[in-house]
Structures are given as structure tokens and as C-alpha cells.
Symmetry: C2
Subunit: 262 residues, 2 copies
């Protein structure tokens, strides 16, 4: 928990590759554990990190940028599976399969720590706490994807976009990247659409509806949630969901929650 205090310092050191980069306790431990093997790197906007169909043998911790994971179908449509926000890890699946199922590309400039895949194995041999952390973080990842599935499966465009904004807010808040009830969002309407299974045009209309209903405001690249509670209600956003998930993604159930169950 104490690590959370670091997030502000990390923020300030954003331009360089940070020396103590991890706002997340579990990843921080993980990062410490394999520090000697870590390769720091910086990627620029629109730069590919992982290309679908090719092999890959590193996983990454994203310190301060936005990236996203996507796939192109044979009819040319693109589905964005997940946005990778500051402080999140990615690349595990690319390691698991011979050839990655998805591509990962940088949406903004970002500084990454690349961790050779084999290090995971060493960690499992050496540090039980960290291996448990990794395990639970993977379980949590699956839970988040399950929630996105519900999004695209059973919600209207209006609910999807509202839910999407709420989720971004909660996830960003964890690393102190929100300001009151607003946050910066470097996404185009096309990206939002490709993430939620909508077209850019329809995202545009729906955003207008959300503005007209005084649910959100948009200035430049900044989103403000004008009526948090109402939006939660309309979009079926369970506070328990990301409230809990946020907890998970931060402590990764390795601490109190986990011990309590024993």
C-alpha cells in the first residue's frame, strides 16, 4: 500500500525512463525481483510493440503512456481488445502462444520496461509471493475482459460509452491520473468505436447525446463526468465491480484479501 505514495513522484519523472516506475505494488515487487534483467525502452506514438502473427518473448510494463491491443479481421474491421493504461502490464499472451494473437501499438509516446519471458520462470522458482501476484493478476485480467464482453454483448451504444468512460476514470484514478471528476483521454472517436464495436460516426452521435443529457463534458482531450451517480445507474456500472477490480489490480489479492480467505 505504501507504494501508492510514489505515484506522484513517478508522474513528475515522466519524461525520462523512471527509476522507480511502478505505481502498482505487485508489479513493483515483480519489477524489483527481476530488475537486473529489465530492458528500459521508449516507444513513440503509432509505433508497434507487438505484431499479430509473429513470435514474441518479452512482456512489458507500461509506465506512463497509452497503448492498445487489437486485431484485424479478414473483412478489414478492427476490434480493440483492451487499452493499456499507465502502470499496467501486457504481453503475457503474446508469450504464451507461438505467434501472438493480437497486435499492440502505442497510442502516445510511452516508456516501457521489457522483461524477458524466461524471467517469469525464474521468478516462479525463486519468489512465491510474486508468483502468486502474477497468477492473480492474470485472473483479474480475465475478469476485466469478461466485463468488456458484457459491454459489447448486452448494452446499447449509450450505455457502452457511458460505462467505458466510467471504467477509464476508475482505472486512471488508481494511478492518480485524474483531476476531480475529469481526466485526459488521448482517444479518437474511431478508437472508441473500435473498442466498443461501434462506428466512429455513431460514437460521435452518442457522445452528443451524453453531452446533451449533461452526463459528460468534452473539452479538447479532457473528459469530465458531470453526474457520476446518474451515469453509474444508467450504464449499470457496478461500483462493486471496478471498486473491487481496482483493488485487485493494485494489490493483486496477494495481501489482506488473500490471507483472510485461508
Amino acid at each position: 500500500m505504501a507504494y501508492n505514495i510514489r505515484s506522484r513522484e513517478t508522474d513528475r519523472a515522466r519524461s525520462a525512463v523512471p527509476a522507480l516506475p511502478l505505481p502498482r505494488p505487485a508489479y513493483y515487487d515483480f519489477w524489483l525481483e527481476c530488475r537486473s534483467k529489465v530492458v528500459a525502452s521508449i516507444v513513440h506514438k503509432d509505433e508497434d510493440v507487438i505484431v499479430a502473427g509473429s513470435g514474441h518473448a518479452s512482456l512489458y510494463i507500461n509506465h506512463d503512456g497509452w497503448l492498445f491491443r487489437y486485431r484485424i479481421l479478414h473483412n478489414g474491421r478492427r476490434q480493440i481488445v483492451d487499452f493499456i493504461l499507465p502502470g499496467e502490464m501486457f504481453g503475457l499472451q503474446a508469450c504464451l502462444f507461438d505467434r501472438s494473437l493480437y497486435s499492440v501499438v502505442a497510442l502516445t509516446d510511452a516508456s516501457l520496461s521489457a522483461i524477458p519471458f524466461g524471467v517469469i520462470d525464474e521468478v516462479f522458482d525463486r519468489n512465491r509471493k510474486v508468483s502468486r501476484d502474477l497468477f492473480w493478476s492474470a485472473v483479474c485480467e480475465a475478469a476485466i475482459l469478461g466485463e468488456h464482453l458484457i459491454d459489447t454483448g448486452r448494452r446499447s451504444a449509450y450505455e457502452r460509452i457511458g460505462h467505458f468512460m466510467l471504467e477509464l476514470f476508475v482505472r486512471l484514478q488508481r494511478t492518480d491520473r485524474t483531476d476531480g471528476l475529469s481526466f485526459e483521454m488521448p482517444l479518437t472517436q474511431e478508437l472508441i468505436g473500435d473498442s466498443l464495436g461501434l462506428t466512429a460516426v455513431h460514437v460521435n452521435r452518442t457522445l452528443r447525446a451524453l453531452r446533451e443529457k449533461k452526463m459528460i463534458a468534452l473539452n479538447d482531450r479532457r473528459v469530465s463526468l458531470l453526474n457520476f451517480d446518474a451515469l453509474c445507474r444508467v450504464c449499470d456500472f457496478q461500483k462493486s465491480y471496478l471498486g473491487e477490480q481496482a483493488f485487485c489490480r493494485s494489490s493483486l489479492a496477494s495481501s489482506k484479501r488473500f490471507e483472510r480467505q485461508l
Copy 2:
């Protein structure tokens, strides 16, 4: 790999709680590892195993039935997140969160092994191979959910249902529950719809279209794939996808694939 041979025997012993129940190598090891703590149980059709919103402290291995994980939204709609086929594990997420995000209910009679949650911790302390297996299986689970996300996000009803059938086939084939290119499927059209974000009525029409195009045949509860390759092409079913995933879910990347990367 040798464990696969067991699947036929397991099949025959289906009526009782099996003594050596696991067709999956990784879960088999896991099951062996915590055998003394396992509680065998049988659930009947329509019986709840996990209820959304309540706490839970066991995970389960499903030996021979069909179950599914779902959530009800406030507008009354239901989204099925995943079907749990014979030989698959579930309940991890319910353990991770204070209160489960999803409900799990039996679709047919099924025999389960309940494993107390705390055992996982012991396993992580004791057996590195099994803990790695568990980790990779969780990563793989996330990959499968990602694929479902693409399903509901960017595919037409026709493609979704075709893709769904192909995936079921491949997953069932792994535990030898297919017969040539056909398999038994105890699902109603409503369940299929709730899984793919469609209405039962539209599932009906789409199934008819698939029949008329000679892609599939339906008799009783049995699905036959009449033109496997064409269906793969139309539905953008990547053989690499579940080909790989099937591999994962079976060996859980603990063996050759994993070692090779080191």
C-alpha cells in the same frame, strides 16, 4: 501428453464421481497435488454452483457436465460470459473478489471436484510446476475471453454462430467428446443467443441460414459441421487460434512450448 489416453476411460466412468477424473494434464497434476483436500460433489441441472454477489471460497473442476457463467443486468438482460465444458476449471474469479461478479449454474447434471481456495496458496509454496501451470491457464482463459469479445464486437450474427460452433467443436474434441465432425450440444437457442448477444428468435433464423447454406446440420441435440473449411473461412476462425489455444488449455504451456522459450 500421456494423460490424454485416459479420456476414454473417464468417459465410461461418467456416471459416478470419477476416481481419476482429469483429462487435462495440468489440472490432473493440480488435482493430484491437492487430492486430499478435494471434495467431490454432484450437481443437477439448473442447480446454482456460484451465485453472483455472494462470497465464495472454493474453485471447481468440472468432470463431465456443462455449466455456464453469466450475469443479469439491471434491464433484465442476461449475458453468458462462458460455457464450462467437461474437463474445465472454474471459480477462480469468484474467489478473487469479495463477492462473485458472476453466477455459475449447471446446464446438465455434472460431477465436480471442489477445491478449497486456500489450497492454491499451499500449492504455490510447494509445487512450482503446478503453480506455473495455473498461471498460464489463467492467461489462456483471458485469451479466450478476448476472442469472445471480438466475436460480439465485430462479427455478424451469421459469423458469430458459425464461429461459436467451431469453437465448441475444437474444445470438445480435446476431451474426445466429438464424433467425426459432429458433437452433442445441450444448448437451447436462447442460451446461444445470450452467449453471443443475440435474441433467441434471431438465432433461430441464423441457424436456418447456416443449414440452408449446408454449413451445419442439426438433429436432436447433435450438431454436424458439413463444411469445416468453408465455415472457418467465412467466420474468420483462425486455426492458429484455437489450434494454439487448445494446446494451451491442454498442456497449459508448461511443457514443450514453455521450455522452448527459455
